[in-house]
Homo-oligomer: 482 residues x 2
């Protein structure tokens, strides 16, 4: 079934997943490789998807009282050093500015790999009393992390876009609840809009954010069996408030350190969407996140027909826009309908409406859904009602397909040989674990897979520790990771 | 009349303009100084204003077919060097990245001072035929220019936020028209939303953008008589397309270089708004750009009154929101009404609604307009209709006041002594000019003022050249500049 013209993909998703992904992101016009170490250009389509991500999440943040700000890109080294663990964690991947114009700087400046340090230096100045709390700020910005490992568009780039939220609270419990509330917002967004099911839980002590007391994570499973961290929320405790001296005068007259959280999602969500939903013909964008939901293609064989068909296409475009469905009639004259079909399938538009003279004569419209490559004919008069249901059905169906994929690719192991076997077959593995770092690291050494998360939903222990055979305390998920 | 409490301004706008400005941007909560050379934090209020700027302009750009993208922050030195004039113009203010992690880079990377070079390197790859034109891309991003001169919040910072549009066209005329069309969009936005009148025209050859064939500019006049460049649009001709080899196959089979434009406005618009409209009590934000248009303050003397008044405040807030007017009832209990008045006046909210028991009993509401410090009582039932007219009147009145200021502060000089005198009195000066660079530079040497623009609207020459006394070819505007 896969159409292979010169602009299309030359390799199938199941043939060579990595090559398929690389071809897809460039050929669909999502991104292009930039002439800078590990950087990509976010082209029109990727940026339009990111704009939708921003607008939806931003509205959710604002509902819980978060306000947007913008802090400097450059962080003096002495600030980055203030929280020791944090510095140790990030310094290997910092891009350093050493010169301004022709002058060497007296202190080198880090391009932000994350903004805790520069933000909390100001929090120390702004927060005085309990009246200033909670403080909930967020910024949408660019981040640079110098990648030594191989880079991959959207998933691992030297520069990416993200949002980072940073809150400060009067009590430990309030901060902890905030970190968890954000994770719920992320989960709902990723499942409802991106149609990607995610597991929620905690990172192990040794995989948590540098400087955090706990890191909560959402893990999505990619078709090649690798887990992808789709969003994280950190409970920072008082680690940073003590390093940065962020104190407040409480109602009872005592002076205390604030409790903090930080949390973020990034453009790697676009990569996850590509991997989970894309197929051999190209992208498949879930309707609720698609910058363009329907494309209308005219089909005609004579100049006379052309006029009628074009006018009908424009009418349909207009009716869809009025209904709140994004639509575009593709009236380009230098391309055949077949070429346009392939082009829009490559770009992942959820629904195509094909309009020819016969459709007009019969008062019918032909709808093609991208996800299942199925055509359905509807009465012209039903368009407004049917399109909405159609898009909803596509959205639901994509989520279900991804959910089934996740279930199919998740196995259960009681022994290392079972675990090893499942991992080598491209799966994620539920296994029992004693709680030791040694076992996690030994599993990684042997299989390339490590603990991706300790799920919030505690499952009954069904064996001894998969690695050491000692009594297990928890059921956790092992997988290779992006 | 000016209220001077400890949180308010301690100096008047006419006393010490520069100090007034510095106090205002920090005390109003617009911005704070960051612990990085020449950088500020864009706090909640400034960023909310910037979000409004972005959403309004972005919609205008999209109407004319511009699409958003995101290009890398870091530009390899060899790319920056490709267009010689451009490199010469920007290299003194480039922040250079020389290390990634612990490793020195083989080629140093510039943090973008503007993105022509990195974008056009990709344009050369993407543009193949006339079908690919026009290409109209824009990005909203951060920019770093290492400032050696003294910095000033919003007006001159090491890092600022902006949008940069970059278009490529098949013909010279189309590109030129595009550059002018954008300037019109900017002008309309700045005058209608920011309520700041601007002059439009061209920069002199020696003040144009490094690498451009012509630079079109909008100049606003600040209360201290300095001109502020509020937006620019560059006609790049084929300078960059030749340096970057951006060619296309035209309909007639010939291969030609594209014609280009680039254009931008930045967060310095916020600085202009502060300077033009602010007063001794704080910011005055024009209603059409104000993140918060109305604030509702309860006044009460007993617990019983409090309940009634709070409930009325919430009702009014609700009615305003339904009407599409942004509103917030300030129900904080630890502050007096007087304290709240000062606080919201400092923050520039256009309208305050004061609600006390007497207002409720009489079915009346008290509206206070920030710009004129005037109160008006209206019937409660008229709120929805009156508020809209009230906000419109404030918007119009702010523009008129700024327009009058501009007229008052613009003089006309036939001689150097007249010019000098006007400049020293804090004015902008219309004068006749022979067209030579020497005269512009000599005027600058003597007075600190130089040609800010050659207006599109040609005015009849009324004297010989103000500097050399030879026959003049044009009437131009001289001023000191931000």
């Amino acid at each position: 079934m896969s159409v292979k013209h010169d602009l299309g993909l030359t390799v199938g998703k199941n043939e060579d997943f990595s090559e398929w992904y690389s071809q897809l992101v460039t050929k669909s016009g999502l991104a292009d490789y930039a002439p800078v170490h590990g950087c990509i250009v976010f082209r029109e389509l990727a940026y339009a998807i990111w704009e939708k991500v921003m607008s939806i999440l931003d509205a959710e943040f604002k509902k819980i009282g978060v306000k947007n700000v913008y802090f400097p890109l450059l962080i003096p080294e002495r600030l980055l050093k203030k929280e020791a663990e944090h510095f140790k964690g990030f310094t290997p991947e910092v891009a350093w500015v050493t010169h301004g114009g022709d002058e060497p700087l007296s202190e080198r400046l880090a391009i932000r790999p994350t903004s805790e340090t520069i933000m909390y230096e100001m929090y120390a100045k702004w927060i005085r009393s309990w009246r200033d709390l909670p403080l909930k700020l967020n910024q949408w910005c660019n981040i640079v992390r110098w990648e030594i490992k191989s880079t991959k568009p959207f998933l691992r780039n030297t520069e990416f876009l993200w949002q980072e939220g940073h809150t400060a609270h009067a009590t430990r419990d309030e901060a902890l609840q905030q970190a968890l509330e954000i994770l719920k917002i992320y989960k709902r967004f990723i499942e409802e809009y991106l149609a990607i099911p995610v597991l929620d839980g905690s990172k192990t002590e040794w995989e948590k954010f540098a400087g955090a007391e706990a890191t909560f994570t959402l893990e999505a499973l990619m078709p090649d069996g690798r887990a992808l961290q789709a969003g994280t929320s950190h409970f920072l405790g008082q680690n940073f408030s003590k390093a940065f001296e962020i104190t407040f005068l409480d109602r009872d007259g005592s002076t205390n350190y604030v409790w903090q959280t930080s949390w973020g999602v990034s453009t790697r969500l676009i990569g996850a969407m590509v991997m989970v939903h894309g197929d051999d013909k190209g992208l498949v964008i879930p309707p609720k996140i698609a910058p363009l939901q329907t494309v209308i293609i005219p089909i005609f064989y004579s100049e006379e027909e052309k006029a009628r068909v074009f006018s009908k296409c424009k009418e349909v475009e207009d009716r869809l826009l009025k209904k709140g469905v994004s639509a575009q009639a593709d009236l380009r004259e230098d391309y055949t309908p077949g070429w346009k079909y392939n082009d829009w399938e490559l770009k992942g538009v959820p629904v195509r409406i094909e309009i020819g003279p016969r459709d007009i004569n019969e008062g019918m419209l032909t709808l093609f859904r991208r996800d299942k490559s199925e055509r359905v004919r509807i009465r012209d008069s039903e368009l407004e009602d049917k399109i909405v249901l159609f898009l909803e059905d596509i959205q639901r169906s994509l989520y279900e397909k991804a959910k089934n994929m996740m279930i199919e690719k998740t196995g259960r192991a009681k022994t290392m040989s079972e675990l090893s076997d499942l991992i080598s077959r491209g799966m994620m593995v539920e296994a029992c674990w004693c709680g030791s770092r040694e076992c996690d690291e030994a599993v990684k050494e042997e299989t390339g897979a490590s603990i991706r998360l300790i799920p919030f939903e505690e499952k009954p222990v069904f064996s001894n520790c998969v690695k050491c055979g000692k009594p297990a305390s928890k059921v956790v998920y092992f997988a290779r990771a992006y």
